[in-house]
Amino acid sequence: MKASAFAYARATSVANALELLTVHGERAKVLSGGQSLLPAMNLRLIAPELIIDIGDLAELRGVVVKGGVLTIGALTRHVDLLKSPEIAAHASLLTDAVAHIAHPAIRNRGTIGGSLAHADPASELPACMLTLGATIIVHGPGRERRIAASEFFAGIYETALRPQELLVAVELPVSPKNSTYFFHEFARRHGDYAIVGLAAQAVVNDGRFADLRLGFFAVGDRPLLAGSAGKLVNVTITSAVFSEACSALDEELDPLEDQQATPAMRRHLAKVLLARCVSSLLDRPDLHAGASA
């Protein structure tokens, strides 16, 4: 189908975009890469009265590293993240994760800000933001808000972003030098929406986790930073410890039913991912045993 009619404004600056949002608020939608917004409009799931195109705002594009912080502009495309030496050096989890987002033609347009503001619970970047402890920077009428990723995602396509606000950037702490990561998702076909996925980052000392952050996606109405990771930190992981962590994870999950999977299947796959993650990060093939998808 085709999108219904709407008015169009090409924002000339962040200030101009904010003026338009202040006037039109909920009647308007911000267009960045359009790879989620335009399908939703073509399917007539949404019909905004005004599209505010921020595509020309070059100041919202790019990756900067300064003082232990990576700042990624909202209009930075997935392909830019994939090819960025700064991201590869300081947030290598993201480089790996981005390769799983859709297909090349989509990654050439889709942006990090668009993905986060859209907040699809099955998408990769929101979960990565939780794992990496991101801060989401939002400009609104007269002020800036800095929102922790853990406070930002509020439900299916719901975030803490207000109708008058514009997501301008995200900040990530540079990943610790000794950190490792794990990323995997189950999907019917490469680039499809994940059935269940896990973006993890860890610090391993002498075969034990000194730190472990587990960002699951497609396991509920929003990405989940699993508290059950705590059960695996600063302990020697035996099968008893691991199964306790699995039970704790099960308690935290609230998977949805859709055409791809039942909640029970998602619970199973989340545990399979946890086993693969822990076994891979600790180089413990024994923990992987029995974890078949």
Binding site: M1, K2, A3, S4, A5, F6, A7, Y8, A9, R10, L31, G34, Q35, L38, P39, N42, L43, L50, I51, D53, G55, V79, A102, H103, P104, A105, I106, N108, R109, R189, H190, G191
Partner: protein, 161 residues
């Protein structure tokens, strides 16, 4: 305010000026306004890949780009890369290997394949599959398509060596 917007862009090397409604996507602009019907419209929500074109050198879904967003852009369609001879070898490999039946997906397949071959001189079959994972074919299956791309990659690599 749902009035037409003036746009100016380059399409296959020619300057195009037009007034378009904001809701018009680039695929429909190319097909309906410019009569460049090689770009096909399949799913209209970014899944099938039949509408793949190049914008500023990058392949994109023209159903997920508004014509107004292509203002000041350089657009290349299957007609452009076909007429210039850029993909003549790829087209002939598709023909020889029967990598198409109805041909609906073929323009998008060719645009995606050429994009891969420009980035990677000798991709393996897995890389080819991955790069084409966003392009649906509903008749041939994909083996012949991958064969044709692999053959073209090897032939181009040999020509360079």
């Amino acid at each position: 305010m749902t009035t037409a917007v003036a746009i100016s862009l380059s399409v296959n090397g020619e300057r195009v000026e037009a007034n378009v409604l904001p809701r018009l996507n680039l695929a429909d602009f190319l097909r309906e306004h410019l009569k460049l019907t090689g770009t096909h419209v399949g799913c209209e929500h970014g899944v099938c890949g039949a509408c793949t074109v190049r914008v500023n050198g990058d392949i994109v879904r023209s159903c997920l780009l508004l014509a107004v967003q292509a203002h000041n852009a350089t657009v290349e369609t299957i007609e452009g890369v076909s007429d210039s001879g850029e993909i003549a070898d790829l087209q002939s490999a598709f023909r020889e290997r029967n990598a198409l039946q109805c041909g609906f997906c073929t323009p998008g397949m060719l645009m995606a394949a050429q994009d891969l071959l420009k980035q990677s001189s000798c991709p393996d079959r897995e890389q080819i599959r991955e790069h084409l994972s966003g392009n649906y074919c509903r008749c041939t299956g994909y083996q012949a398509v991958i064969d044709a791309i692999e053959t073209t990659a090897r032939a181009r690599a040999e020509r360079l060596s």
